[in-house]
């Protein structure tokens, strides 16, 4: 075992090489915030020259937490073929129904090079209550608008799931360490009892 652990110089070189490879992979691929999906809010809604789709995550939205909106902008040709609209300008207007003066207009960004025609927005809602979400898609063919309403719930008092998970992990780790320590102690006692403390004289 010791012999195999020896010669760490080469091992360090391999570690460095691997770290470089992983770093290269990490910088060569684009980061993804979410990989699609969500609760559908708008499905194939005609909006001017376009047909719009919208999904939201998480479910429900909570005040003070990041809410995610994904929008798909498509157009349909005379033959009924659906095409994504890759060069649209998508703006999302958020209006509190209880305080209409509280209005925000934010641009949605393209999701990724693969998700052509998909745009997304992350936003932290300042307050709870009903919010009107207006999606405006502007492109070479014209402008289309759709709207839907979302209920934003009050902020959660404590992220209980996180605490429960952390507690469980701590218990498992503590149990594992305790088992290991107990086994080591048992082995030490066994070794001591196996060796006579005084030399046996014949």
């Amino acid at each position: 075992m010791r012999r195999l652990d020896g010669g760490l110089g080469q091992v360090h070189r391999i570690v460095l090489m691997l770290a470089s490879v992983w770093l290269m992979i990490a910088v060569s691929v684009t980061p993804a915030a979410a990989h699609g999906g969500g609760t559908p809010q708008v499905v194939d809604a005609p909006a001017g020259p376009y047909r719009l789709f919208a999904w939201t995550t998480p479910d429900p939205w909570r005040a003070g937490e990041v809410a995610h909106i994904t929008v798909a902008v498509t157009r349909v040709d005379a033959a009924g073929q659906v095409f994504p609209v890759a060069d649209a300008q998508v703006m999302i207007r958020l209006t509190s129904e209880t305080q209409p003066e509280q209005t925000l207009t934010l641009p949605a960004q393209p999701v990724s090079a693969v998700a052509t025609g998909f745009y997304e927005l992350d936003h932290k809602f300042p307050g709870d209550g009903l919010w009107r979400i207006e999606v405006e898609a502007r492109g070479a063919e014209g402008v289309g608008v759709v709207a839907f309403t979302m209920a934003v719930e009050p902020a959660a008092s404590a992220p209980w799931l996180l605490w429960a998970g952390a507690t469980l992990a701590a218990v498992v780790i503590a149990f594992g360490l305790w088992q290991a320590a107990r086994r080591r102690a048992t082995q030490a006692v066994a070794r001591r009892t196996a060796q006579p403390s005084l030399p046996i004289k014949g």
């Binding site: 010669g7 391999i14 969500g38 995550t57 073929q81 659906v82 994504p84 090079a113 052509t116």
Partner: protein, 304 residues
């Protein structure tokens, strides 16, 4: 170029929750492999073909979860099925064939390695737990149940709606597939008596009927089963129902074919081993007869 092919050739996306475990296990394996190869280049634990299969396995996980397949799986049931098939039918057996446990173990520092081996080789709760869940019957049941349960319309749609449920779906698919392939590949650590080859053939073939029934039912359903696919734009030239037909066929044909292929390979290995055993027996019988005949000649000479 067809829009689906163009999308499949698109750029990959970085997902840290995928990349970090892949980098960790890939690095541990590489370090262990080099250490073991330094000891002997002819030993079987860390061979070149095992290295290739292991990295193909990790690469296929990356392909399923970071390539455009991942995004397309939210748009097309067919691509979602392909993604799942890669995880359970390609990645899991390839990783096992790489013999990951002993090799990656040698990638760990001495103290950690001792800690891990003590946990698995000693009389510990970890070993007891692993032994309980890795009994072949349990492996088969856990995988088959998990695999079929996630195809329930409610769970499937939930996974497509909620990101962490989707990740949980993929994680459970992969981990239970690892359990399923463990007794088939007979990978280390071996906590049970190795299954005979005929047992492994039955083990894999027993998965064909439930999978085929589920795939057939999905492919032949007159309605769209997974509502999510009715809520996405149909950008790839097929309706939700056509997509479902192809997706169901992928599930039904790919998994069944994979299991039948594995059974045929097992039959081949079994007959090869049987032939070798008979050859050895014949050789042993030949060498046992030789001294006897020589003894007879000596007797004849003495009598003469």
């Amino acid at each position: 170029m067809h829009p689906l092919v163009r999308a499949l050739l698109g750029p990959w996306e970085l997902r840290w929750e995928v990349l970090i475990p892949l980098a960790l296990f890939g690095s541990l394996y590489a370090l262990g492999w080099v250490r073991l190869r330094r000891q002997s280049k002819t030993q079987k634990v860390a061979s070149k073909w095992r290295l290739v299969l292991y990295y193909l396995g990790l690469g296929s996980v990356a392909l399923a979860l970071m390539s455009p397949i991942d995004w397309l799986s939210t748009q097309l049931l067919t691509m979602h099925m392909v993604q799942h098939k890669i995880l359970v039918m390609v990645s899991a057996p390839l990783i096992w064939l790489g013999n990951p446990y002993p090799v990656a173990l040698w990638g760990l520092p001495l103290s950690v390695r001792r800690f891990v081996t003590a946990g698995i080789a000693g009389d510990t709760w970890l070993r007891a737990g692993l032994k309980a869940i890795s009994a072949p019957g349990i492996c088969w049941l856990v995988f088959t149940f998990t695999y079929l349960a996630w195809h329930d319309p409610f769970l499937y749609d939930l996974a497509l709606r909620v990101d962490w449920v989707h990740n949980l779906e993929h994680l459970t698919f992969f981990l239970t597939a690892m359990l399923f392939w463990w007794p088939v590949v007979n990978g280390a650590p071996r906590l049970h008596k190795s299954m005979p080859y005929w047992g492994r053939i039955l083990f894999v073939l027993a998965f064909v009927p439930p999978n085929a029934i589920a795939g057939f039912a999905i492919a032949n359903s007159p309605e769209v089963i997974y509502a999510h696919y009715n809520t996405v734009p149909r950008l790839y030239g097929m309706s939700a129902l056509q997509d479902q037909m192809i997706g169901g066929a992928v599930m039904w044909v790919w998994s069944s074919e994979m299991m039948i292929n594995v059974a045929v390979i097992m039959l081949g290995v079994m007959s090869l081993k049987e032939r070798k055993r008979k050859q050895k027996e014949t050789e042993a019988a030949g060498s046992a007869q030789k001294p006897l005949s020589e003894h007879r000649i000596e007797k004849v000479e003495v009598a003469g």
